[in-house]
């Protein structure tokens, strides 16, 4: 199932410093010691309680922040957070926003333009695409954001919870595509509170608590242990 190694995290730690005033600081270790490997075709689920450091881990893998301790080896692969409406500007047209968004996700102008019709089709926005995004309803914006994120996939897709977007019909459609994506050979890292979701969608899982790795490996085993501990602690 696993292919070549794409990204490796080795004993990474992240410390956030807060400045209260000029001379008064405080810090917080979001991650203390976490290691994991992401190989081609993996779908890695990240589970843990609120504040366990899941989102920080995702930002590290996405190259948004750098670790204070440990190393991240990225074998020249593109990673992006599956984010809705990335870089959207209310005043720009839907088309311009889709172009900017696609480029921010790591694609050249040419590549984005080649996929533009597919994006518009999926978002069902033919009549509105050349109007400013501020005239869109919340659902329309979400649909556009979602289709861009889906059509323009990087080597490693990072997902921070699956968001329900649009009306019921669109939600159903997007869930189906999302599942397909998760089960295909697209490499993903999926952060979720829902252990059941991780179990059904991911082949590997990592459980982090207070910035440390508690357990990692086969998703069914890790999720089983996680659920057990949740029940024990009430």
């Amino acid at each position: 199932m696993s292919g070549d190694l794409l990204i490796a995290l080795q004993n990474v730690g992240v410390r956030f410093k807060f400045r209260r005033s000029l001379f008064n600081g405080d810090y917080f270790d979001a991650l203390k010691d976490v290691s994991c490997d992401i190989c081609r075709g993996d779908s890695l689920g990240v589970i843990g309680r609120n504040g366990a450091g899941k989102t920080t881990l995702l930002r590290l893998i996405g190259g948004i922040i750098k670790p204070d301790r440990g190393v991240i080896v990225n074998n020249n692969v593109s990673t992006t957070l599956l984010a809705m409406q990335i870089g959207f500007d209310q005043e720009l047209t839907g088309r311009a926003n889709a172009l900017v968004s696609g480029m921010l996700l790591g694609f050249s102008k040419k590549q984005v333009l080649a996929n533009m019709e597919k994006v518009i089709d999926f978002a069902e926005l033919h009549d509105f695409i050349d109007r400013p995004t501020r005239t869109y309803s919340a659902g329309m914006k979400a649909r556009l954001g979602f289709s861009i994120a889906l059509e323009m996939s990087p080597d490693v897709l990072l997902i921070d919870e699956v968001l329900g977007v649009g009306d019921a019909k669109f939600q159903k459609k997007s869930m189906a595509v999302m599942k397909e994506k998760l089960l295909s050979d697209q490499t993903i890292v999926f952060v979720s509170h829902s252990a059941a979701m991780v179990k059904s969608l991911c082949n590997k899982a990592i459980w982090i608590e207070n910035g440390f790795t508690v357990m990692q490996g086969d998703s069914a085993e890790v999720v089983g242990a996680y659920e057990q501990s949740m029940n024990d602690n009430g």
Binding site: T93, M103, S108
Partner: protein
């Protein structure tokens, strides 16, 4: 993975989109770019030309030639100061070189300024100042000013994310600089020992040279322009390196 060329295209798309959006938002659209300096000019003319009767014979032309480059400088610097902070949502989702954020503001205002400068020349012509070959130095003057603007904009943009308070200093600093740049007075009315000091302010020197070229039919002082360009260029290069070094720090400090 995106390269420099992709990022340049991205800047271009954003700038074009923003300019179009800016003009379609208001009823008068692009006209506001010209109406605003005229309104400001009228206010200064009322105070300094009439109430304080400091106005010389071509005071309106004098004011316009000072105000238009000044407003370009002040607006770009103050808009840039928040550019990295307001890119917060974006930089939490993808990696982008943060230098892009102030660059978009700088480019957007620079494009606008081309139209404004053309209108200034038209205005001077109808005001009765005959066009002269010295007007040809306007692109050189404007390019010099652009480098000054870049240096100041990158500087303030790089600091504000660490210290939000710095924003107050920027607006006070701009006001002080406005009074020290000779926008509404000529530098020769102040005592000579301060004149030396004021000319250290690149905007004072630039406004003086704009007026020489556009109103008084003289060539600008080339050595002044060279010095300003070189100094600012050096500052721009330093700021590029600084912002690059801080690329992964910004997403942590802007919370």
């Amino acid at each position: 993975m995106l390269g420099t060329r992709d990022y340049l295209q991205l800047i271009q798309i954003k700038v074009a989109g923003n300019l179009k959006a800016e003009s379609s938002r208001d009823y008068l659209g692009y006209l506001w770019w010209l109406i605003e300096p005229v309104f400001k000019m009228l206010a200064y003319y009322f105070v300094f030309g009439m109430l304080l009767s400091r106005g010389t014979e071509d005071y309106v032309a004098f004011l316009m030639t000072g105000l238009i480059p000044w407003l370009w400088f002040a607006q770009t610097v103050s808009r840039s100061s928040m550019s990295i902070v307001s890119g917060k949502a974006l930089m939490m989702q993808v990696y982008i070189p943060k230098i892009i954020l102030p660059t978009i503001v700088i480019c957007q205002d620079a494009v606008k300024q081309i139209i404004i400068f053309f209108s200034l020349l038209l205005f001077l012509y109808f005001y009765g100042i005959s066009p002269s070959p010295h007007w040809l130095s306007l692109p050189v003057l404007a390019s010099t000013q652009l480098v000054v603007i870049m240096a100041c904009s990158y500087f303030v943009a790089s600091i504000v994310p660490f210290m939000n308070d710095f924003n107050y200093i920027v607006s006070t600093g701009l006001q002080l600089m406005f009074f020290c740049s000779g926008v509404f007075y000529s530098l020769d009315i102040i005592p000579p020992r301060f004149q030396q000091l004021l000319i250290l302010n690149p905007m004072a020197s630039l406004l003086y040279n704009y007026r020489r070229a556009l109103i008084y039919h003289q060539w600008p002082d080339w050595s002044d322009l060279c010095l300003i360009t070189l100094g600012s260029l050096l500052a721009v290069l330093v700021m590029w390196r600084v912002i690059k070094r801080l690329d992964h720090i910004y997403p942590r400090v802007i919370l």
